[in-house]
Amino acid sequence: MEFFKHNTKIDFMAQRKWAAVLSVILIVLSFVSLGVYGLTWGLDFTGGTQVQVSFQQPADLTAIHDNLEKAGFADAVVISYGTSKDVLISLVPKDKAEITQDEKAQAEMVKQVMDALPGAKMESVNYIGPQVGSEMATKGLIAIIISLLGTMIYIAIRFGWFFAIGSTVALLHDPILILGLFSFHHIEFNLISLAAVLTVIGYSLNDTIVIYDRVRENFRKFRKADTIEVLNLSINQTLSRTIMTSALTLTVVLALFFMGGTLLHGFSLALIIGIVVGTYSSIYVAGSLAVAMGLGRHHLIPQLKEVDQTP
């Protein structure tokens, strides 16, 4: 079976202006959404207590909320979790200072919640102290930055600084869009989602490297071709691989999304977005950015003699 009988000759680079416009619009929208809605931080980053309970019958969320309100938990967030019988109750005070640090008070709180919900079975309890939460948020941000720097240094060693900067800027594109979508749809962003964002950084770079590798090879092979031609050729040559790998990875991530349970929803969703956006960004953003920055063959193939020939 083949998707493309012969090498495709799609002129990707001709549309690069439109791609650039699209990317800029998406990034701006992401920032606007982040600015307006912010991120719905998960328990891992805010600190607080979460209790997961299950019922014999489908749960009535409003009744649960009312019961909790009567018991003194006015700001409890009650959502259904996976199935209609499973419910997740988050007790995250708006003011971080109110998060209890006293173990006894915390245990007492969980007990009160369970007392307020007759017929509920406790499945899990998570308590994150406020200092752990804010520390994780900082660490997470640092991890994203170090990941970008680390991969940039590796690409610089393998492909030179020119490509390294281009691919890193292209890479920024993906996490920003993921965060934007999470923010727009108010999807909880927790530690596992963070792991997904970092995984996407690594994954998206895969595609970029495969294309850059081919660009370098083609610059060597076709000495007369100009940059646009070489980029187009390289993208077309690697196109069936790019589609194939993206489709396969998307398949397994979709399996994870539909079958992995609620705990992994954030993770698989971030990856689904990341794979789609990452495929697009490595074709368009990384390539057109390199062209826009004035990529020439000398950036990839060292020409030692030029320096000595200056009069």
């Binding site: 079976m1 083949e2 891992d44 200072a97 640090q101 006293d102 173990e103 915390q106 245990a107 406790m122 499945e123 899990s124 309890v125 998570n126 308590y127 994150i128 102290g129 200092q131 994780m136 660490k139 991890a143 990941s147 680390g150 991969t151 590796y154 690409i155 596992i192 792991a195 970092l198 995984t199 690594g202 994954y203 770079l205 895969n206 490297i209 495969v210 590798d213 090879e217 690697t238 069936s240 691989r241 194939m244 790998t245 489709a247 396969l248 990875t249 998307l250 398949t251 397994v252 991530v253 399996a255 994870l256 539909f258 079958m259 992995g260 349970g261 705990l263 992994l264 993770f267 990856l271």
Partner: protein, 623 residues
Amino acid sequence: MAGPINRNPIWKYFLVIIVIAAAFIYAAPNLYGEYPAVQVMGNDSTVVDENALQSAEAALKKAGISYQDVSFHDQRLLFRFSSTDVQLKAKDVLQETLGDSYLVALNLSSATPDWLTRIGAMPMRLGLDLRGGVHFLLQVDVNSVMQQRIEGDLRGIGQSLRDEHIRYSGITRQGDSKIVLQFRDAASQSDAEDFVRRRYAEFSWEKSTNADQFILTGTLVPASMFKAKSEILEQAMNTLRNRVNELGVSEAVVQQQGESRVSVDLPGIQDTAEAKNILGKTATLEFHLVDADHDAALAQAQGSAPPDTRIYTLNGQPLLLKNQIVLRGSSIVAATASFGEDGRPNVQVRLGGAGESLFTKITAENVGKPMAIVYVEVKSTPTMVNGERTIQYSTERRIISAPVIQSALGGNFQITGLRSPNESRTLALLLRAGALPAPVTIIEERQVGPSLGKQNIQMGVMSVEVGMALVVIFMAVYYGLMGIFADIALAMNLVLIVALLSLLGATLTLPGIAGIVLTVGMAVDANVLIFERIREEMRRGAGVQASIHAGYQRAFTTIFDANITTLIVMMILFSLGSGVIKGIAITITIGLMTSMFTAITGTRVLVNLIYGNRPAKRISIGI
């Protein structure tokens, strides 16, 4: 073309066969399930022997509890049961029969055959999200202990300078790592410098002058500071381990997390209240002589204690105790809660080590005088200071009793004056497990019920199966026989991941399973790259053998570069330290590395085997 290019050297067959055989062997233990079991171990000095075995068996028989089998080695009894219900009942019966001097713990014993265990093959450890249990993250207040140590050094330096007749005008502590000495003249300053440089080498000393003050500043060398801090943490971890054992959890994991944190995983525990109570307690005992030379009531009225003493109250009466510690809780090697002749609760204590001789000597010198047993507990209370949340520590010191020393005390004695049997039990437990060197606070708790754990495992396995099946079908349809080679490699990769996770003793979590699912997608990328390259070469009209050769050779650097960047990111993810995401980082890292072997070397061996030795006209690669 010179010579055949797609032949396998013999060693390559051997390599692949050996690696795969090893992978199957080390992955195998995961196929055998686990039995619920109860483990009995001796407590400190108690040794499990045939008698213990017999009384345990008799007790189970009497209670009508039947067990599958019992094993007895490494000073450890292991009873296996058919269900967890029976296991729980048996644990209570055994604990009651054998008493405090044995540790009776619930255990999940692997059904792995002996020959596998003997070569080190073990099943993967399942994370708490897959089996149920509690995870705690404890903050150890290392800094407060460091301050106390510096205070100690401060007094020591002051004392020894006085002993050496070197006059100083002031000595103070700065922060938790600096000591500042002040002198009136340069001669004392340089004398002191010579002395402290020799005696207190863990500090770096610097001379300075300020107006008419001659100053000597000692800063704790970073290496000593690091060593001291890690010793404190190490000691805290040991104590926590002992306490966890006392709790009756046999497969608990106590691990260091960062500079000042310890994570404690207690699988299978449902009652977290007791666990929290016992884990976090910073209680110990101190024995002090009562100062009878001064008037305690007068001291309390004046609000100041005579030098080297401290005011306590016992039954509402003030009491002066000498600061010298006659005996510390750390010298106690065994402690059992029991009842005295008067029916009141007490703790039987046995001493050992260096503490014993000093204790005997001092009690011999002070027969007829009272000695107080002081219960010391550090309590943490969260408070708000200028809008910043901090944890304040306060030490609670309470005299348990102040009996008169009847005779010189040896290695065995009793502590009486306890308020309830509960107090005697807790005190005995804490004395056995040792004191925490620093106050600890629980800053994170994750609890997962056992049914949720089971459900998580099912969903995780299901998504691996479905994801894998889809990829396998897709590859076979799209790439023909070559796709099937890639599928075989993919399956081998899964076995290798499981084998390595088992061998490394890594913990499998639900996010870890997600990582495995993801590696299925990533691992197949290597084959896609190779096969697409082979197709390209063939479309260009290259021969079968040359295309295969070029496909593998050209794709290799690309695969390598692409995987390295993912590995870099995974290392950063791992270093974030949280158990939730460590799982993903570990499985993806292992999966990517093994996939380099299976997807490149593994499929190449198969391809060469089928196509390499003959003049093939075409290959089944889907075109």
